[in-house]
Structure formats: C-alpha cells, structure tokens
Symmetry: C2
Subunit: 222 residues, 2 copies
C-alpha cells in the first residue's frame, strides 16, 4: 500500500541541463560541456563531502562544482559569472509531463526529497509555480547527510510519518534509486536517458521513461 | 619530517587505461569509451557502496563497473569477456618513470595504499616485477572502508606505526588527495592529466606532473 509519492528534484522533475544555453551565451561552444561537467562534479562533490565528513550545503557544493567545470573547459570563473549561472540554477525547466502528472496524484502525500538546500529548492519550485503541487518539501540539509546514505532517506519517513515500504520514491538517478531501494522504499526509476541498470545488487520495483508511468500505478492502487 | 612515502595504485603507479587495446580487440571502435566508463563507474561504485554501507571487495566493484560499461556502449557482457578483461586488469602497465623513481627512494617506508583487494594488488605488482620496491602493501579491504573516508586512511598510520603528518601520500586522483589531506597526511598530487584543482576546500602540499617530482623532496629531506 503506497501512502506517499516522493520525488527527487534535480534530473527527475527538473532538467539540470536547461542551463546549457545560459552557459553557452557566456562561454561560446562550451555550453554543453560545462553544463555536463557541472552536474557530474556536483554529484561527485556531494558524495565526497559525505564520505570525508565535511558536509556543506548543496548550494555551496553546486557553486564549487561550477567553478571546477568552468576551469576544466578553459574558462575563468569570475564571481559575476558564477553568480549569473547560480541564479539560472534557480530557474531550471521542469520536464514537460511533470505538472500534468502531479495534478493527477491527489489522494496521497506528494513530497519532494532532495539534496538541494532550502535556498535552492524554494525559489526553484516557486519559479516553476509548482509549490502547491506538493504537500511537503524535504531536504537532506535538515540532517546534513547526503543521499544515498540511510540517514538521508530516514528523514523522509520521519517527516511524513509513514513506514519505509509505504513510500514510492521516484528518481532519474540510478544511484539515488539504488540507495532508496537499499533503504527499503518502493522505487520507480525514471530512466529518462535510457541508461543500463546500475550493477549494485538491487533493482528498482518499476522503471519508466518519464513520470506518466506513475499513472498506471495510481490507477491500480485506487 | 617524512617517514613514509605512500602511493595510491590505480592511475598513480599504473595506467588504468592500458586495458583500452584489449577492450578494443573485443569491442571494435569502443575500446576507449569502454575503458573510460569502466574506470569512472569503478570509482563511483566504490563511493556508493561506502555511502550505502554495502561494502564489497574492489574486484567485485571493478567487475560490476565493467559490466555496466559494456552495457552502456551497446555490448554484451558475456562471462568469457568479463573474465578476459578482469584478467587484463591484473596486468596494467606502470607509468614509465615509476620504477626508476621508486628505486631512488631507499631510506624510508615505501608503501602502496589502495582500494584494490589483495587478489588484485598481489598479481598486479608481481606482473610488473614491483613487489620488492615496496616495504608494505596496504589495502582498504582490511578495514572494509573505502577511500576517501578517514577510517581508510587511518589504516595506513596503524600499519606503518607513524604519525599522520609523517606520511607523504601520492595520488593522481584529486578526490584521493583531498581525502588524504583532510585526514592529515602531507600530500603530493601527481596531476598526470593536468586537471584543475578540486574545489573542496583543501589544497595538496605539492603538485607534480609525474613521480619524478618526488626526487626534489627526497633531495631536500636527506
């Protein structure tokens, strides 16, 4: 029995590569490369800070990753540029089916659960006019433990006051789905990029190309 | 005062991309892509298993990463192919200056310290005829805590019976150098790929393009 639909944010609800054009306008011909390295290092730095025990909020991790990405591709990470691109990250584009699907999931908890710090999540959801679609916004910044640690996922069950197995967790990130499944959530991997399954010993309960797949579960569970 | 020279193995002493030709012979035109994804996922899977608390030895992590890499690039991960490529990983090529430099560092502890499991490290060092160049072979598999956790680096000071600050640790991997410096080692980043510095709040004590840079430290410390 599912009592809560819980959604990862970056890559799952919002396209993190929608900053590509803004990157491109500042660094000609390098927009795609910078936006890809930015995302890759953002994830890596969250893992590394968790592993080393040197937690910093996700907006700092994201800024550090951006600085690295610009340097790697031969640019100069001027503060004005960092500031402009960090602002763009507060206005990412949601994937096109997201709002429509969320509006159809009405009778359960609908939460976002993200590595993102409140200073990133609040303006992002506001910018996309999506606040009202969720009953809770949960961030790892409360417990200061990044996904995919158990301590991170634990904050979801505490906040929503549900059992692990009553949560259906959605993420496009294979590592996030693996951590959530390992923790004990039901999971739906939103495999937007048609990637192979992670080889980490656990499998998601569901796999969809985008969020519309959820509606088939919703139909069965009503 | 440095009492121990401690070396990371994969990417630092040995070229992990020297399996590229073997990958290429099995998967035409995809050797480079597979070998790069293999390495990237190997590192990611070691991070993820540490974060999730689901440690498995590095040879399993390496095999899982290889299976993912083959799938990502459209190949079929047959057991015979996995077996052949995992065997190639026991015969990686050392970087060309490695043996020459090691032979000149004679009056201190010289240890390797690796995520690699004994079943990988022993044949690798034997294959390259490098066993006798080291006074210790230390693996995270003893404590089953992957780098860059403090618990991993701690096993070095316990094994060698030296203080943190008496260790000079060498790695080509920015994340490994960051973890080691955060732990309290002196560090020399062997920046073989001329990458930007990691944006994680700590800096290595030294930076060299290859291991020959060590000889300048050795000359000063004698």
């Amino acid at each position: 029995m599912i009592k809560a639909y819980v959604f990862d944010v970056y890559g799952t609800l919002f396209d993190v590569y929608s900053v590509k054009e803004k990157c491109q306008s500042i660094f000609p011909h390098k927009g795609e490369a910078i936006s890809q390295t930015w995302r890759q290092k953002q994830i890596e730095y969250s893992f590394l800070r968790q592993l080393m025990g040197t937690y910093r909020p996700f907006h700092e991790v994201t800024e550090d990753a951006l600085r690295y990405a610009i340097l790697l591709h031969g640019g100069e990470p001027k503060e004005s540029v960092i500031s402009e691109l960090m602002d763009a990250y507060l206005h990412l584009t949601p994937y096109e089916e997201v709002k429509d699907v969320l509006q159809q999931l009405t009778d359960k908890h609908r939460a976002v659960f993200s590595n993102g710090s409140p200073s990133m999540l609040t303006p992002l959801l506001q910018s996309a006019e999506m606040n009202e679609l969720f009953t809770s916004v949960i961030t790892v910044d409360e417990n200061k433990q990044y996904k995919p640690t158990k301590a991170a996922y634990q904050s979801v069950v505490e906040t929503l006051n549900v059992a692990k197995e009553e949560v259906l967790f959605m993420s496009s990130n294979g590592w996030d789905i693996t951590g959530a499944k390992q923790f004990g959530f039901q999971t739906a991997w939103i495999n937007r990029a048609s990637l192979p399954p992670e080889q980490l010993g656990v499998k998601p309960d569901f796999e969809f190309h985008d969020l519309t797949g959820l509606l088939s579960i919703e139909a069965k569970s009503v």
